[in-house]
Protein backbone atom coordinates (compact mmCIF):
# COMPACT_ATOMS: atom_id res chain seq x y z
CA UNK A 1 0.00 0.00 0.00
CA UNK A 2 2.19 2.92 1.22
CA UNK A 3 5.82 2.51 0.28
CA UNK A 4 8.53 4.90 1.34
CA UNK A 5 11.88 4.26 -0.28
CA UNK A 6 15.19 5.90 0.64
CA UNK A 7 13.43 9.16 1.36
CA UNK A 8 15.75 12.09 2.03
CA UNK A 9 14.30 15.46 2.99
CA UNK A 10 16.16 18.65 3.80
CA UNK A 11 14.68 21.68 5.50
CA UNK A 12 16.59 24.89 4.98
CA UNK A 13 19.60 22.88 3.91
CA UNK A 14 19.58 20.58 6.98
CA UNK A 15 18.96 16.88 6.37
CA UNK A 16 15.91 15.87 8.43
CA UNK A 17 14.97 12.54 6.87
CA UNK A 18 17.97 10.45 5.88
CA UNK A 19 17.26 7.79 3.30
CA UNK A 20 14.26 6.55 5.24
CA UNK A 21 12.47 3.41 4.08
CA UNK A 22 9.17 2.10 5.38
CA UNK A 23 6.38 -0.01 4.02
CA UNK A 24 2.81 -0.29 5.30
CA UNK A 25 0.83 -3.04 3.55
CA UNK A 26 -2.90 -2.65 2.97
CA UNK A 27 -5.02 -3.56 5.97
CA UNK A 28 -2.28 -2.85 8.50
CA UNK A 29 -1.72 -0.28 11.20
CA UNK A 30 1.89 0.75 11.78
CA UNK A 31 3.08 2.96 14.58
CA UNK A 32 6.05 5.29 14.58
CA UNK A 33 7.64 6.26 17.85
CA UNK A 34 10.67 8.46 18.29
CA UNK A 35 12.20 11.32 20.21
CA UNK A 36 11.18 14.93 19.71
CA UNK A 37 12.71 16.42 16.63
CA UNK A 38 13.50 13.05 15.07
CA UNK A 39 11.52 13.90 11.92
CA UNK A 40 8.09 12.33 12.52
CA UNK A 41 6.06 15.38 11.49
CA UNK A 42 8.45 16.03 8.62
CA UNK A 43 7.68 12.53 7.35
CA UNK A 44 3.92 13.15 7.55
CA UNK A 45 4.20 16.51 5.78
CA UNK A 46 6.36 15.00 3.05
CA UNK A 47 3.85 12.24 2.37
CA UNK A 48 0.98 14.77 2.33
CA UNK A 49 2.89 17.12 0.02
CA UNK A 50 3.33 20.23 2.13
CA UNK A 51 5.18 22.96 0.17
CA UNK A 52 8.77 23.17 1.40
CA UNK A 53 8.93 19.45 2.16
CA UNK A 54 9.85 18.20 -1.30
CA UNK A 55 12.27 15.25 -1.03
CA UNK A 56 15.84 15.58 -2.26
CA UNK A 57 15.77 11.92 -3.24
CA UNK A 58 13.74 8.76 -2.77
CA UNK A 59 10.09 8.06 -3.45
CA UNK A 60 6.72 7.68 -1.77
CA UNK A 61 4.16 5.50 -3.54
CA UNK A 62 0.55 4.66 -2.77
CA UNK A 63 -0.52 1.41 -4.40
CA UNK A 64 2.52 1.61 -6.65
CA UNK A 65 1.80 5.14 -7.83
CA UNK A 66 4.28 7.85 -6.88
CA UNK A 67 2.88 10.74 -4.86
CA UNK A 68 5.95 12.91 -5.28
CA UNK A 69 5.27 15.95 -7.42
CA UNK A 70 1.50 15.76 -6.88
CA UNK A 71 -0.30 18.71 -5.32
CA UNK A 72 -1.56 18.24 -1.74
CA UNK A 73 -5.18 18.17 -2.94
CA UNK A 74 -4.34 15.57 -5.60
CA UNK A 75 -2.86 13.38 -2.87
CA UNK A 76 -5.94 13.94 -0.73
CA UNK A 77 -8.16 12.84 -3.62
CA UNK A 78 -6.06 9.68 -3.92
CA UNK A 79 -6.91 8.99 -0.31
CA UNK A 80 -4.05 10.43 1.74
CA UNK A 81 -5.30 11.94 4.99
CA UNK A 82 -3.23 13.68 7.63
CA UNK A 83 -4.47 14.20 11.14
CA UNK A 84 -2.36 17.21 12.11
CA UNK A 85 -0.26 17.35 15.26
CA UNK A 86 -1.32 21.01 15.73
CA UNK A 87 -4.42 21.73 13.64
CA UNK A 88 -4.93 25.39 12.70
CA UNK A 89 -7.95 27.50 13.52
CA UNK A 90 -9.32 29.31 10.47
CA UNK A 91 -11.43 32.29 11.56
CA UNK A 92 -14.15 33.25 9.12
CA UNK A 93 -14.36 29.83 7.48
CA UNK A 94 -17.65 28.09 8.24
CA UNK A 95 -16.87 24.54 9.36
CA UNK A 96 -19.62 22.61 7.62
CA UNK A 97 -19.39 24.54 4.38
CA UNK A 98 -15.63 23.97 4.22
CA UNK A 99 -15.86 20.25 4.92
CA UNK A 100 -18.67 19.65 2.46
CA UNK A 101 -16.80 21.62 -0.23
CA UNK A 102 -13.64 19.63 0.51
CA UNK A 103 -15.43 16.28 0.46
CA UNK A 104 -17.10 17.10 -2.84
CA UNK A 105 -13.82 18.38 -4.31
CA UNK A 106 -12.22 15.02 -3.48
CA UNK A 107 -15.16 13.14 -4.88
CA UNK A 108 -15.20 15.19 -8.08
CA UNK A 109 -11.49 14.51 -8.57
CA UNK A 110 -12.23 10.79 -8.29
CA UNK A 111 -15.18 11.02 -10.67
CA UNK A 112 -17.71 10.36 -7.91
CA UNK A 113 -21.09 12.03 -7.43
CA UNK A 114 -21.54 15.11 -5.31
CA UNK A 115 -22.96 14.57 -1.83
CA UNK A 116 -26.10 16.63 -1.29
CA UNK A 117 -26.32 19.09 1.59
CA UNK A 118 -28.97 16.95 3.27
CA UNK A 119 -26.96 13.72 3.02
CA UNK A 120 -23.85 15.52 4.17
CA UNK A 121 -25.60 16.99 7.16
CA UNK A 122 -26.84 13.58 8.25
CA UNK A 123 -23.42 11.92 8.03
CA UNK A 124 -21.72 14.92 9.57
CA UNK A 125 -24.02 14.92 12.60
CA UNK A 126 -23.49 11.24 13.23
CA UNK A 127 -19.71 11.61 13.18
CA UNK A 128 -19.87 14.75 15.31
CA UNK A 129 -21.72 12.77 17.93
CA UNK A 130 -19.19 9.92 17.74
CA UNK A 131 -16.25 12.25 18.37
CA UNK A 132 -18.11 14.25 21.01
CA UNK A 133 -18.38 17.66 19.37
CA UNK A 134 -21.58 19.51 20.20
CA UNK A 135 -23.62 21.32 17.50
CA UNK A 136 -22.74 24.78 18.89
CA UNK A 137 -19.04 24.04 18.27
CA UNK A 138 -19.78 23.08 14.69
CA UNK A 139 -21.58 26.34 14.00
CA UNK A 140 -18.39 28.20 14.88
CA UNK A 141 -15.75 29.06 12.29
CA UNK A 142 -13.32 26.19 11.78
CA UNK A 143 -11.57 25.29 15.09
CA UNK A 144 -12.24 28.85 16.25
CA UNK A 145 -11.70 29.05 19.99
CA UNK A 146 -11.29 25.26 20.23
CA UNK A 147 -9.12 23.70 22.93
CA UNK A 148 -6.31 21.38 21.89
CA UNK A 149 -8.49 18.38 22.69
CA UNK A 150 -11.43 19.72 20.68
CA UNK A 151 -9.18 20.27 17.67
CA UNK A 152 -8.09 16.63 17.87
CA UNK A 153 -11.73 15.59 18.00
CA UNK A 154 -12.30 17.64 14.85
CA UNK A 155 -9.43 15.75 13.19
CA UNK A 156 -11.11 12.45 14.09
CA UNK A 157 -14.43 13.71 12.80
CA UNK A 158 -12.75 14.38 9.46
CA UNK A 159 -11.05 10.98 9.45
CA UNK A 160 -14.49 9.41 9.79
CA UNK A 161 -15.97 11.75 7.20
CA UNK A 162 -13.35 11.42 4.45
CA UNK A 163 -12.82 7.65 4.93
CA UNK A 164 -9.35 7.94 3.41
CA UNK A 165 -7.41 5.04 1.92
CA UNK A 166 -4.37 5.89 3.98
CA UNK A 167 -4.37 7.91 7.18
CA UNK A 168 -1.39 9.39 8.99
CA UNK A 169 -2.16 10.37 12.57
CA UNK A 170 0.48 12.71 13.94
CA UNK A 171 0.39 12.62 17.74
CA UNK A 172 -3.39 12.54 17.81
CA UNK A 173 -3.19 11.34 21.41
CA UNK A 174 -1.27 14.28 22.82
CA UNK A 175 -3.57 16.45 24.90
CA UNK A 176 -6.39 13.90 24.99
CA UNK A 177 -7.98 12.47 28.12
CA UNK A 178 -8.74 8.77 28.60
CA UNK A 179 -12.29 8.99 27.25
CA UNK A 180 -11.11 10.82 24.16
CA UNK A 181 -8.38 8.21 23.61
CA UNK A 182 -11.02 5.53 23.71
CA UNK A 183 -13.03 7.52 21.14
CA UNK A 184 -9.97 7.68 18.84
CA UNK A 185 -9.67 3.91 19.19
CA UNK A 186 -13.33 3.47 18.23
CA UNK A 187 -13.05 5.69 15.14
CA UNK A 188 -9.88 4.01 13.89
CA UNK A 189 -11.00 0.44 14.63
CA UNK A 190 -14.30 1.10 12.88
CA UNK A 191 -12.37 2.16 9.78
CA UNK A 192 -9.78 -0.62 9.82
CA UNK A 193 -10.28 -2.70 6.71
CA UNK A 194 -8.27 -4.85 4.28
CA UNK A 195 -7.87 -2.01 1.78
CA UNK A 196 -7.02 0.77 4.21
CA UNK A 197 -3.79 1.57 6.01
CA UNK A 198 -2.75 3.67 9.00
CA UNK A 199 0.46 5.23 10.19
CA UNK A 200 0.09 6.25 13.81
CA UNK A 201 2.72 8.60 15.24
CA UNK A 202 2.83 8.64 19.03
CA UNK A 203 5.05 8.90 22.08
CA UNK A 204 2.93 6.72 24.30
CA UNK A 205 1.91 3.14 24.73
CA UNK A 206 -1.54 4.33 25.88
CA UNK A 207 -2.95 5.00 22.42
CA UNK A 208 -1.60 1.71 21.13
CA UNK A 209 -3.71 -0.11 23.70
CA UNK A 210 -6.77 1.22 21.91
CA UNK A 211 -5.35 1.00 18.40
CA UNK A 212 -3.37 -2.25 18.22
CA UNK A 213 -0.56 -1.78 15.68
CA UNK A 214 0.70 -4.60 13.48
CA UNK A 215 4.22 -3.14 13.54
CA UNK A 216 6.07 -0.48 15.50
CA UNK A 217 9.02 1.48 14.10
CA UNK A 218 11.48 3.63 15.98
CA UNK A 219 12.42 6.81 14.13
CA UNK A 220 15.59 8.53 15.26
CA UNK A 221 17.94 10.89 13.46
CA UNK A 222 15.79 10.81 10.35
CA UNK A 223 15.80 7.03 9.85
CA UNK A 224 14.02 3.94 11.09
CA UNK A 225 16.51 2.51 13.57
CA UNK A 226 14.45 -0.40 14.82
CA UNK A 227 11.22 -2.22 14.00
CA UNK A 228 9.23 -4.80 15.87
CA UNK A 229 5.81 -6.16 16.80
CA UNK A 230 3.27 -4.58 19.17
CA UNK A 231 5.34 -5.69 22.16
CA UNK A 232 7.94 -3.05 21.26
CA UNK A 233 5.71 -0.35 22.76
CA UNK A 234 6.18 -1.76 26.25
CA UNK A 235 9.93 -2.09 25.73
CA UNK A 236 10.13 1.56 24.71
CA UNK A 237 8.06 2.68 27.68
CA UNK A 238 10.41 0.69 29.90
CA UNK A 239 13.83 1.51 28.45
CA UNK A 240 13.24 4.69 26.43
CA UNK A 241 14.45 5.47 22.93
CA UNK A 242 18.10 5.44 23.96
CA UNK A 243 18.52 1.68 23.71
CA UNK A 244 17.81 1.96 19.97
CA UNK A 245 19.34 5.31 19.16
CA UNK A 246 22.61 4.04 20.67
CA UNK A 247 22.35 0.96 18.47
CA UNK A 248 22.00 3.20 15.41
CA UNK A 249 24.98 5.37 16.26
Amino acid sequence: MLNIENLTVEIEGNPILDSLSLSVPAGEVHAIMGPNGSGKSTLSYTVAGRPGYEPVSGDVTLDGESLIGLEPDERAAKGVFLSFQSPVAIPGVATMNFLRTALNAQRAARGEDEVSSADFLKVFRTHAQTVGLTPDKLKRPFNDGFSGGEKKRMEMLQLALFQPRFAIMDETDSGLDIDALRMVGRVVNELRSPDRGFLVITHYQRLLEHVRPDRIHVLAGGRIVHSGGPELAAELEEGGYEQFTAEAA
Binding site: D73, G92, V93, L103, A105, P141
Partner: protein
Protein backbone atom coordinates in the same frame (compact mmCIF):
# COMPACT_ATOMS: atom_id res chain seq x y z
CA UNK B 1 4.96 75.50 -2.21
CA UNK B 2 3.92 79.12 -1.72
CA UNK B 3 4.83 81.19 -4.71
CA UNK B 4 6.26 78.22 -6.62
CA UNK B 5 5.18 78.64 -10.22
CA UNK B 6 3.08 75.79 -11.51
CA UNK B 7 3.15 74.60 -15.05
CA UNK B 8 -0.36 73.34 -15.66
CA UNK B 9 -0.96 70.02 -17.31
CA UNK B 10 -3.11 69.99 -20.44
CA UNK B 11 -6.04 68.89 -18.29
CA UNK B 12 -5.53 71.62 -15.69
CA UNK B 13 -5.24 74.24 -18.41
CA UNK B 14 -8.60 73.33 -19.81
CA UNK B 15 -10.29 72.73 -16.46
CA UNK B 16 -9.14 75.96 -14.87
CA UNK B 17 -9.95 78.15 -17.85
CA UNK B 18 -13.51 76.76 -17.83
CA UNK B 19 -14.14 77.56 -14.15
CA UNK B 20 -16.28 80.55 -13.24
CA UNK B 21 -14.17 83.31 -11.70
CA UNK B 22 -14.19 83.22 -7.93
CA UNK B 23 -12.56 81.71 -4.88
CA UNK B 24 -12.66 78.14 -6.13
CA UNK B 25 -10.93 78.98 -9.38
CA UNK B 26 -8.35 81.00 -7.48
CA UNK B 27 -7.67 78.26 -4.96
CA UNK B 28 -7.30 75.57 -7.58
CA UNK B 29 -5.19 77.71 -9.87
CA UNK B 30 -2.80 78.59 -7.08
CA UNK B 31 -2.20 74.97 -6.05
CA UNK B 32 -2.98 72.95 -9.14
CA UNK B 33 -4.65 69.56 -8.70
CA UNK B 34 -3.40 67.54 -5.73
CA UNK B 35 -0.81 64.87 -6.42
CA UNK B 36 2.46 63.35 -5.34
CA UNK B 37 3.68 66.57 -3.78
CA UNK B 38 0.54 67.13 -1.70
CA UNK B 39 0.92 65.33 1.64
CA UNK B 40 -2.69 64.15 1.74
CA UNK B 41 -2.45 62.79 -1.82
CA UNK B 42 1.11 61.45 -1.85
CA UNK B 43 0.00 57.89 -2.62
CA UNK B 44 -2.69 58.93 -5.09
CA UNK B 45 -1.18 61.12 -7.75
CA UNK B 46 -4.36 62.57 -9.18
CA UNK B 47 -2.50 65.25 -11.07
CA UNK B 48 -0.44 62.67 -12.95
CA UNK B 49 -3.45 60.42 -13.57
CA UNK B 50 -5.28 63.37 -15.17
CA UNK B 51 -2.34 64.75 -17.10
CA UNK B 52 -3.89 64.28 -20.55
CA UNK B 53 -6.35 66.72 -22.01
CA UNK B 54 -9.95 65.81 -21.36
CA UNK B 55 -13.16 67.70 -22.23
CA UNK B 56 -16.41 67.98 -20.30
CA UNK B 57 -18.41 64.75 -20.58
CA UNK B 58 -21.03 64.48 -23.29
CA UNK B 59 -24.39 62.79 -22.65
CA UNK B 60 -24.28 59.25 -21.31
CA UNK B 61 -24.29 57.00 -24.35
CA UNK B 62 -24.67 53.50 -22.98
CA UNK B 63 -27.79 51.76 -21.79
CA UNK B 64 -28.22 51.38 -18.06
CA UNK B 65 -26.42 48.28 -16.76
CA UNK B 66 -27.94 45.98 -14.17
CA UNK B 67 -27.45 47.61 -10.79
CA UNK B 68 -24.73 46.09 -8.62
CA UNK B 69 -27.05 46.70 -5.68
CA UNK B 70 -30.71 45.81 -5.79
CA UNK B 71 -32.36 46.94 -2.59
CA UNK B 72 -36.00 45.94 -2.51
CA UNK B 73 -38.47 48.71 -3.29
CA UNK B 74 -35.84 51.44 -3.40
CA UNK B 75 -36.35 54.98 -4.64
CA UNK B 76 -33.80 55.09 -7.48
CA UNK B 77 -32.16 58.35 -8.53
CA UNK B 78 -30.02 58.21 -11.65
CA UNK B 79 -27.11 60.49 -12.38
CA UNK B 80 -25.75 59.83 -15.87
CA UNK B 81 -22.51 61.62 -16.63
CA UNK B 82 -23.53 64.25 -14.10
CA UNK B 83 -27.10 64.70 -15.42
CA UNK B 84 -29.84 63.88 -12.94
CA UNK B 85 -32.94 61.92 -13.81
CA UNK B 86 -35.54 62.12 -11.07
CA UNK B 87 -38.45 59.75 -10.62
CA UNK B 88 -41.81 60.47 -9.12
CA UNK B 89 -41.44 60.82 -5.40
CA UNK B 90 -43.27 58.95 -2.67
CA UNK B 91 -44.39 60.68 0.51
CA UNK B 92 -41.88 61.19 3.28
CA UNK B 93 -39.04 62.59 1.21
CA UNK B 94 -38.36 65.87 -0.61
CA UNK B 95 -35.98 65.96 -3.54
CA UNK B 96 -35.02 69.03 -5.54
CA UNK B 97 -32.40 69.93 -8.07
CA UNK B 98 -30.98 73.33 -7.24
CA UNK B 99 -28.63 75.77 -8.94
CA UNK B 100 -24.93 75.45 -8.14
CA UNK B 101 -23.74 76.98 -4.86
CA UNK B 102 -19.99 77.23 -5.35
CA UNK B 103 -18.27 76.91 -1.99
CA UNK B 104 -14.67 76.60 -0.96
CA UNK B 105 -14.49 73.58 1.31
CA UNK B 106 -11.41 73.45 3.51
CA UNK B 107 -8.87 70.69 2.76
CA UNK B 108 -11.04 69.35 -0.02
CA UNK B 109 -10.17 70.88 -3.38
CA UNK B 110 -11.97 68.20 -5.35
CA UNK B 111 -15.09 68.62 -3.26
CA UNK B 112 -14.87 72.36 -3.82
CA UNK B 113 -14.63 71.71 -7.53
CA UNK B 114 -17.77 69.57 -7.34
CA UNK B 115 -19.71 72.47 -5.81
CA UNK B 116 -19.75 74.04 -9.26
CA UNK B 117 -22.30 71.36 -10.17
CA UNK B 118 -26.03 71.57 -9.49
CA UNK B 119 -27.13 70.34 -6.08
CA UNK B 120 -29.46 67.44 -5.64
CA UNK B 121 -31.05 68.06 -2.26
CA UNK B 122 -32.78 65.23 -0.44
CA UNK B 123 -34.68 65.91 2.76
CA UNK B 124 -36.06 63.28 5.09
CA UNK B 125 -38.17 64.34 8.06
CA UNK B 126 -39.50 61.34 9.94
CA UNK B 127 -38.69 57.72 9.30
CA UNK B 128 -38.37 57.11 5.59
CA UNK B 129 -38.51 53.35 5.27
CA UNK B 130 -37.80 53.29 1.54
CA UNK B 131 -34.09 52.96 0.81
CA UNK B 132 -32.74 55.70 -1.46
CA UNK B 133 -30.47 54.36 -4.19
CA UNK B 134 -28.30 56.83 -6.07
CA UNK B 135 -26.84 55.26 -9.19
CA UNK B 136 -24.06 57.32 -10.69
CA UNK B 137 -23.48 56.03 -14.21
CA UNK B 138 -20.46 57.32 -16.09
CA UNK B 139 -18.99 56.57 -19.48
CA UNK B 140 -16.86 58.09 -22.22
CA UNK B 141 -13.59 59.85 -21.53
CA UNK B 142 -14.65 63.29 -20.37
CA UNK B 143 -15.09 64.75 -16.91
CA UNK B 144 -18.19 65.64 -14.94
CA UNK B 145 -19.21 66.40 -11.38
CA UNK B 146 -22.22 65.92 -9.19
CA UNK B 147 -23.27 67.07 -5.75
CA UNK B 148 -25.76 65.45 -3.41
CA UNK B 149 -26.94 67.00 -0.20
CA UNK B 150 -28.89 64.75 2.16
CA UNK B 151 -30.48 66.11 5.31
CA UNK B 152 -32.08 63.80 7.80
CA UNK B 153 -34.12 65.87 10.23
CA UNK B 154 -33.75 65.36 13.99
CA UNK B 155 -34.84 61.85 15.00
CA UNK B 156 -35.44 60.89 11.38
CA UNK B 157 -34.23 57.64 9.87
CA UNK B 158 -33.04 56.92 6.37
CA UNK B 159 -31.11 54.44 4.26
CA UNK B 160 -28.83 55.64 1.47
CA UNK B 161 -27.17 53.39 -1.10
CA UNK B 162 -24.77 54.83 -3.65
CA UNK B 163 -23.17 53.14 -6.64
CA UNK B 164 -20.50 54.30 -9.05
CA UNK B 165 -21.00 52.34 -12.24
CA UNK B 166 -18.33 53.33 -14.68
CA UNK B 167 -17.46 52.11 -18.15
CA UNK B 168 -14.70 53.56 -20.31
CA UNK B 169 -12.23 56.13 -19.05
CA UNK B 170 -14.12 59.12 -17.66
CA UNK B 171 -13.27 61.23 -14.61
CA UNK B 172 -16.35 61.70 -12.44
CA UNK B 173 -15.95 63.89 -9.37
CA UNK B 174 -18.69 63.30 -6.81
CA UNK B 175 -19.58 65.05 -3.62
CA UNK B 176 -22.04 63.76 -1.02
CA UNK B 177 -22.88 66.05 1.87
CA UNK B 178 -24.86 64.58 4.72
CA UNK B 179 -26.29 66.21 7.79
CA UNK B 180 -27.73 63.87 10.39
CA UNK B 181 -29.84 65.92 12.76
CA UNK B 182 -29.95 65.33 16.49
CA UNK B 183 -30.84 61.72 17.25
CA UNK B 184 -31.20 60.89 13.55
CA UNK B 185 -29.98 57.65 12.08
CA UNK B 186 -28.59 56.71 8.69
CA UNK B 187 -27.48 53.45 7.14
CA UNK B 188 -25.23 54.08 4.15
CA UNK B 189 -23.60 51.76 1.64
CA UNK B 190 -21.27 52.87 -1.14
CA UNK B 191 -20.41 50.38 -3.86
CA UNK B 192 -18.00 50.78 -6.72
CA UNK B 193 -17.48 47.93 -9.19
CA UNK B 194 -14.11 47.79 -10.97
CA UNK B 195 -13.34 50.49 -13.54
CA UNK B 196 -9.82 49.86 -14.81
CA UNK B 197 -9.50 52.93 -17.03
CA UNK B 198 -11.42 55.45 -14.99
CA UNK B 199 -10.37 58.07 -12.47
CA UNK B 200 -12.88 58.65 -9.69
CA UNK B 201 -12.89 60.96 -6.72
CA UNK B 202 -15.82 60.76 -4.33
CA UNK B 203 -15.71 63.07 -1.34
CA UNK B 204 -18.27 62.75 1.44
CA UNK B 205 -18.72 65.37 4.12
CA UNK B 206 -20.79 64.18 7.04
CA UNK B 207 -22.04 66.11 10.01
CA UNK B 208 -23.25 63.72 12.67
CA UNK B 209 -25.14 65.71 15.29
CA UNK B 210 -25.73 64.93 18.92
CA UNK B 211 -27.01 61.41 19.58
CA UNK B 212 -27.16 60.66 15.87
CA UNK B 213 -26.06 57.34 14.47
CA UNK B 214 -24.34 56.49 11.20
CA UNK B 215 -23.72 52.94 10.00
CA UNK B 216 -21.61 53.08 6.89
CA UNK B 217 -19.91 50.42 4.76
CA UNK B 218 -18.14 50.82 1.45
CA UNK B 219 -17.09 48.18 -1.04
CA UNK B 220 -14.76 49.32 -3.75
CA UNK B 221 -13.03 47.39 -6.48
CA UNK B 222 -10.79 50.19 -7.70
CA UNK B 223 -9.89 51.90 -10.95
CA UNK B 224 -6.96 53.61 -12.67
CA UNK B 225 -7.08 55.96 -9.71
CA UNK B 226 -9.93 55.96 -7.22
CA UNK B 227 -10.26 57.94 -4.04
CA UNK B 228 -13.11 57.64 -1.57
CA UNK B 229 -12.64 60.36 0.99
CA UNK B 230 -14.92 60.71 4.00
CA UNK B 231 -14.66 63.69 6.30
CA UNK B 232 -16.83 63.55 9.40
CA UNK B 233 -17.62 65.78 12.30
CA UNK B 234 -19.01 63.85 15.24
CA UNK B 235 -20.93 65.68 17.93
CA UNK B 236 -21.72 64.68 21.51
CA UNK B 237 -22.74 61.05 22.02
CA UNK B 238 -22.94 60.33 18.30
CA UNK B 239 -22.15 56.80 17.14
CA UNK B 240 -20.47 55.97 13.85
CA UNK B 241 -19.45 52.78 12.13
CA UNK B 242 -17.16 53.67 9.26
CA UNK B 243 -16.18 50.46 7.47
CA UNK B 244 -14.67 49.81 4.09
CA UNK B 245 -13.56 46.84 2.06
CA UNK B 246 -11.51 46.88 -1.10
CA UNK B 247 -10.31 44.24 -3.51
CA UNK B 248 -7.98 45.29 -6.27
CA UNK B 249 -6.58 43.27 -9.14
CA UNK B 250 -4.69 44.08 -12.33
CA UNK B 251 -3.16 47.52 -12.01
CA UNK B 252 -6.07 49.02 -10.15
CA UNK B 253 -5.75 51.55 -7.37
CA UNK B 254 -8.03 52.59 -4.57
CA UNK B 255 -7.49 55.13 -1.84
CA UNK B 256 -9.69 55.08 1.26
CA UNK B 257 -9.14 58.27 3.19
CA UNK B 258 -11.14 59.16 6.27
CA UNK B 259 -10.92 62.04 8.67
CA UNK B 260 -13.00 62.29 11.82
CA UNK B 261 -13.16 65.44 13.95
CA UNK B 262 -14.74 65.25 17.38
CA UNK B 263 -16.73 68.35 18.22
CA UNK B 264 -18.41 67.07 21.37
CA UNK B 265 -17.95 64.57 24.16
CA UNK B 266 -18.67 60.86 24.42
CA UNK B 267 -18.72 60.13 20.69
CA UNK B 268 -18.08 56.58 19.56
CA UNK B 269 -16.39 55.50 16.31
CA UNK B 270 -15.79 51.98 15.07
CA UNK B 271 -13.78 51.71 11.90
CA UNK B 272 -12.75 48.46 10.22
CA UNK B 273 -11.11 48.74 6.82
CA UNK B 274 -9.84 45.64 5.07
CA UNK B 275 -8.30 45.24 1.66
CA UNK B 276 -7.00 42.63 -0.74
CA UNK B 277 -4.39 43.59 -3.35
CA UNK B 278 -3.47 41.23 -6.17
CA UNK B 279 -1.29 41.38 -9.27
CA UNK B 280 0.16 44.88 -9.45
CA UNK B 281 -2.66 46.65 -7.64
CA UNK B 282 -2.13 49.44 -5.14
CA UNK B 283 -4.23 50.05 -2.06
CA UNK B 284 -4.10 53.15 0.11
CA UNK B 285 -5.58 53.73 3.53
CA UNK B 286 -5.28 57.04 5.37
CA UNK B 287 -7.27 57.41 8.54
CA UNK B 288 -7.22 60.18 11.04
CA UNK B 289 -9.12 60.68 14.29
CA UNK B 290 -8.65 64.23 15.51
CA UNK B 291 -9.73 64.47 19.14
CA UNK B 292 -9.70 68.04 20.39
CA UNK B 293 -9.11 69.05 23.98
CA UNK B 294 -12.83 69.34 24.68
CA UNK B 295 -13.78 65.97 23.21
CA UNK B 296 -13.55 64.00 26.45
CA UNK B 297 -14.83 60.41 26.68
CA UNK B 298 -14.34 59.88 22.98
CA UNK B 299 -14.25 56.13 22.27
CA UNK B 300 -12.74 55.47 18.87
CA UNK B 301 -11.18 52.44 17.22
CA UNK B 302 -9.53 52.31 13.83
CA UNK B 303 -8.23 49.13 12.17
CA UNK B 304 -6.84 48.53 8.74
CA UNK B 305 -5.75 45.10 7.56
CA UNK B 306 -4.49 44.26 4.11
CA UNK B 307 -3.80 41.02 2.30
CA UNK B 308 -1.02 41.24 -0.24
CA UNK B 309 -1.41 38.39 -2.68
CA UNK B 310 1.40 38.96 -5.11
CA UNK B 311 4.93 40.32 -5.21
CA UNK B 312 3.87 43.27 -7.33
CA UNK B 313 0.92 44.32 -5.17
CA UNK B 314 1.34 47.09 -2.62
CA UNK B 315 -0.55 48.79 0.16
CA UNK B 316 0.32 52.07 1.84
CA UNK B 317 -1.34 52.84 5.13
CA UNK B 318 -1.24 55.79 7.47
CA UNK B 319 -3.50 55.37 10.49
CA UNK B 320 -3.26 58.40 12.75
CA UNK B 321 -4.64 59.37 16.11
CA UNK B 322 -4.28 63.01 17.00
CA UNK B 323 -5.42 63.33 20.58
CA UNK B 324 -5.47 66.45 22.72
CA UNK B 325 -8.02 65.30 25.32
CA UNK B 326 -6.84 63.26 28.30
CA UNK B 327 -9.88 61.13 29.13
CA UNK B 328 -10.46 59.18 25.92
CA UNK B 329 -10.24 55.62 24.69
CA UNK B 330 -8.70 55.57 21.25
CA UNK B 331 -6.82 52.79 19.52
CA UNK B 332 -5.63 51.87 16.09
CA UNK B 333 -4.20 48.79 14.44
CA UNK B 334 -2.69 48.17 11.07
CA UNK B 335 -1.35 45.00 9.44
CA UNK B 336 -0.38 43.81 5.98
CA UNK B 337 0.60 40.29 5.06
CA UNK B 338 0.14 37.25 2.90
CA UNK B 339 -2.26 34.33 3.32
CA UNK B 340 -1.33 32.02 6.18
CA UNK B 341 0.63 29.12 4.61
CA UNK B 342 -0.44 26.78 7.44
CA UNK B 343 -4.10 27.41 6.72
CA UNK B 344 -3.49 27.05 2.97
CA UNK B 345 -1.83 23.65 3.43
CA UNK B 346 -4.54 22.50 5.81
CA UNK B 347 -7.33 23.31 3.35
CA UNK B 348 -5.46 21.70 0.47
CA UNK B 349 -4.73 18.56 2.51
CA UNK B 350 -8.47 18.24 2.87
CA UNK B 351 -8.91 18.33 -0.89
CA UNK B 352 -9.33 21.95 -1.95
CA UNK B 353 -7.42 23.17 -4.99
CA UNK B 354 -5.03 26.07 -4.54
CA UNK B 355 -7.57 28.39 -6.14
CA UNK B 356 -10.43 27.18 -3.96
CA UNK B 357 -8.36 27.38 -0.78
CA UNK B 358 -7.21 30.88 -1.63
CA UNK B 359 -10.76 31.95 -2.40
CA UNK B 360 -12.05 30.55 0.87
CA UNK B 361 -9.38 32.38 2.90
CA UNK B 362 -9.88 35.66 1.02
CA UNK B 363 -13.64 35.49 1.57
CA UNK B 364 -13.06 34.69 5.24
CA UNK B 365 -10.78 37.71 5.53
CA UNK B 366 -13.39 40.01 3.99
CA UNK B 367 -16.22 38.38 5.89
CA UNK B 368 -15.36 40.27 9.05
CA UNK B 369 -16.22 43.59 7.37
CA UNK B 370 -19.30 42.33 5.55
CA UNK B 371 -20.68 40.65 8.68
CA UNK B 372 -21.13 44.13 10.14
CA UNK B 373 -23.64 45.07 7.44
CA UNK B 374 -26.94 44.71 9.24
CA UNK B 375 -29.27 44.04 6.29
CA UNK B 376 -29.01 40.38 5.34
CA UNK B 377 -30.08 40.88 1.73
CA UNK B 378 -27.60 43.68 1.15
CA UNK B 379 -24.87 41.69 2.86
CA UNK B 380 -25.44 38.78 0.48
CA UNK B 381 -25.23 41.14 -2.53
CA UNK B 382 -21.98 42.62 -1.26
CA UNK B 383 -20.55 39.15 -0.66
CA UNK B 384 -21.38 38.20 -4.23
CA UNK B 385 -19.82 41.36 -5.66
CA UNK B 386 -16.71 40.78 -3.61
CA UNK B 387 -16.43 37.12 -4.54
CA UNK B 388 -17.04 37.72 -8.24
CA UNK B 389 -14.16 40.20 -8.48
CA UNK B 390 -11.18 38.13 -9.62
CA UNK B 391 -8.83 36.65 -7.04
Amino acid sequence: MVGAPITYTAFEDRLFSGLPEGEIAEALRSRGLPGRRTEAWKWSDLRAALREERAASVAYAGSDPASPLEPEGALVLFCRNGEWDLPELPDGVRVSLDAPRPTVLPDADLASLATTARVLTIEVDGTFGTPILIRRLSDGSGTHADRVSLRVAPHGRATLYETHEITGAPFPNSLTEIVLGEGASLTRLVVQPPASEAVLVHTSLLDVCEDAELNQSALTLGGALVRHENRLVQHTDSRVRLDALYKLSGQRHCDTTTHVDYAGTGAETRQLVKGVALDRARGVFQGKFHVDRGAQKTDAQMSHHALLLSQGASVNAKPELEIYADDVECAHGNTAGALDPEAMFYLRQRGLSEEAARGLLIDAFAGEVLARVGDEGMRAQLERLFREASN
